[in-house]
Amino acid sequence: MTDILCKTTDLKVTFPHRLGDFTAVHGFDMEVRRGEIVGLIGESGAGKSTIGNAIMGLLSHPGQVSGGRIELEGQNLLDLSDAALARLRGRKIGTIFQDPMTSLNPLMTVGEQLAESIALLQDKPMAQARNMAAERLDAVGIPDAINRMNQYPHEFSGGMRQRVVIALAMAGDPDLLIADEPTTALDVSVQKQVLDLIRSICIERSLGVILVTHDMGVIAETADRVYVMRHGKLVETGPTEQVIHKPSQKYTRDLIASIPSIECCEERFRNPVKRTGEIDQWLLAGHKDQSTDDYVTASALTKDFAIRKKTFWGTSGSFQAVDIPGLSIARGEVLGLVGESGSGKSTLGRMMIGLVQPSSGSIHYSDHGPLAEVRSRAARKALRRDVQVVFQDPYSSLNSRMRVDHILAEPIRFHGLGERAEIPRLVGALLERVGLPPDAGRKFPHQFSGGQRQRICIARALSVRPRFLLCDEPTSALDVSIQAEMLALLMELRRSLGLTLLFVSHDLAVVRQVSDRVAVMKQGKIVECRDAEHLFETPENDYTRMLLDTAPRASGHKEAINLRSAT
């Protein structure tokens, strides 16, 4: 059991480019034994996936291993010919990729794909392979495996698909399993099941598992040992408990500290340091009324979507995405809207700000009246100035063909919020306010990182001097350390500018940090809506409890936070 199954020594991977080679991995050492799960954690660009690819021999073009050794049971994989390495894949090394939807061939049934792999890799006749396929599907937890074998990938849910992927990866009975972000694309409740499955097959078959992820919670709950990576270099390694509770490197400490805790609302978010910029005066202008009534109220709100079920007469059938009797948000409060995918939270958020028409019910703004009656152009423009959005995907949120200063100037000009000559100054001040250098305006979106792009989106939202901000998963696509900065920025802006926020997210920990009240959604309905502290400490609803229980947590990092604030 203490045999080393796979080992890399001083591994170097480079991507040659005419303007200068890019080294993705600098001299990396790693060991994996049978029966253990080794975690590779790092933020984007850390090189963790590259290592998995290098071991498999499937580096994306033009990457190549430029130094070091990769040993599998003592044999240096880099000495093998392409054909010999190909023979090892599936038989000795299995892989799982991130997105189960795209990992499976959409035109072949699940059973066919699995039976084919078994037949080819284990050299068995097809009939026998089919029986084995049914058994294995059952073993990974697909109910009614014999019949579901004949279904196609699109007929399975995300979690089920990933189980199929796991069965496929194990079809050749490999000794080493490389799992590249296996649960990132899945809901939290399903995530736990898939991780448990990986854990159980690891123990059953004495597999060595390399688990690549950016999520510390996943590592904490599943990995025995962990390697922390940054920019292609190893930062720290050791048993999981030790690295998480007593990290020895500053980067690891910072990384753990920036993970929002689901256990408590952290000081840095609850009481953000109030900042002022010169732009604040401009941003606060024109907002005199500070009445204490609710800012926005929704009643009897429903939204139905047509299901694309093709019958002879066109599409028929509908499904109800949202059905809530009432929801209100007080002025200046942050309401967190939390739920899994398909819960309707995004749809509800968009309805609240008038981007999606409800099928029935009404929404009433105390400053503008009922949404349904905001019809004249002037009234609509006024509404649009007050109510803004920050989206999830920093890449599609910005028009890649427009310069940043034009992106910010456009709303200012359209709403007549500044004199022509003033606008460049306003744009520069806005950029500075969100933490970007003033010359950022002259660049294009693709020249910025994800976190910076999100800041530009926030600046754009602020450019019309809003009172209300819908944040639709604004940090879900960002690295953990950037996430913390973004939350801090949002909270600080809220404090300084007195904004009202509707914060939609699937991440309970993040929601806990920012919300005054929280509403939990399940399949279009609000199952619980209370103030944040009580909801998280003593949840009343079973579903809420289930969500809290299954969320992976890097336990014990409360101490790590204390460590940080002490430094």
């Binding site: 959005v389 999830q392 599609s396 949120s397 028009n399 359209f414 709403h415 989106c457 754009r460």
Partner: protein, 300 residues
């Protein structure tokens, strides 16, 4: 040395000699043909300068050739080289003009259908589908043919070029509408468009200022491919006698003239205009292919 060029565009272009050559060829042809009166050694359409005594002369380097006529002369004593330059001008004019028309119609239809969806989309796409049932060359044939039969001969001769531009342009918009619609639908679902809605920006602004710049790539590639197709279509129409009159022939008509006398051994009236036509079309296709590969991020 090539490696140190900063810009990806110029590096890729200079690294592909075939594409570079094609681009240069296109540039040369455009310049040469546009300024045909300047470059052509003779004026093949001015009856005063043609002498029937000069007819059927082979190229200058062959036996019996005349150095005044580099590529020989045709039946009526017209200089093949000059006729090629003037004919090439017509080819390029029709090719680019027709595609410009197709782009304008196609983009308008595609943007409306893609952005608004619903009824607008259904109606516009049905119309497109019905027209798509007929191959463009057939449409151009019929359009031209019917007009030729309906108009007096001299008016048709004068208006031949605009009529062909109209015919080929109207026949070719459907492909543009489809790709623009597909791209527009993708863009419409992007968050930045939703952000524009949240800003309250008017629809026209969103379509013109935001969506259009993002769909230009595929349109550009298709446009170049279609220019190649339009040039061939024009040549075909002229070959069939439905295009430019024989007194001011385009490359297709020249080839038609030449084809009648193949068996008499007069090959130069077909080969040289044919070669020019082929080179022109191949050049556009090669450049279009390169631009398509360049704009496709995943192939790099």
């Amino acid at each position: 040395m090539l490696e140190r060029i900063r810009s990806d565009f110029w590096y890729e272009l200079l690294n592909s000699p075939v594409t570079l050559a094609s681009a240069i060829v296109i540039a040369l042809m455009v310049i040469g043909c546009s300024f045909a009166p300047v470059f052509a050694p003779h004026t093949p359409f001015d009856p005063a300068t043609i002498s029937i005594l000069d007819n059927n002369l082979p190229p200058a380097w062959a036996d019996g050739g005349d150095p005044r006529f580099l590529f020989g002369t045709d039946l009526q004593g017209r200089d093949v080289l000059s006729a090629m330059l003037y004919g090439g001008r017509i080819s390029l004019l029709v090719g680019i003009g027709a595609v410009a028309l197709s782009v304008v119609i196609g983009m308008t239809v595609g943007l409306l259908a893609g952005y608004f969806g619903g009824m607008t989309d259904a109606v516009l796409m049905r119309i497109a589908e019905i027209q798509f049932a007929f191959p463009p060359i057939l449409i151009a044939l019929l359009f031209n043919g019917i007009l030729k039969a309906s108009l007096p001969a001299d008016i048709f001769a004068q208006a031949a070029v605009p009529i062909m531009i109209l015919a080929i342009g109207l026949a070719g918009w459907v492909q543009f509408a489809r790709i623009v619609r597909a791209s527009a639908m993708v863009q419409r679902n992007q968050d930045y468009v939703t952000a524009c809605h949240a800003m309250g920006l008017p629809t026209l602004t969103i379509i013109l200022r935001h969506i259009t710049p993002n769909i230009v790539g595929p349109v550009l590639v298709l446009a170049m491919l279609q220019i190649a197709v339009a040039i061939v279509t024009e040549a075909t129409l002229s070959f069939l006698g439905l295009g430019t009159p024989l007194t001011e022939p385009s490359l297709g008509a020249l080839i038609q003239i030449g084809s009648q006398y193949l068996f008499s051994g007069i090959w130069w009236v077909v080969i040289f205009p044919g070669a020019m036509l082929l080179v022109m079309v191949v050049a556009f296709n090669l450049v279009a292919d390169w631009v398509r590969d360049y704009l496709n991020p995943r192939l790099r």
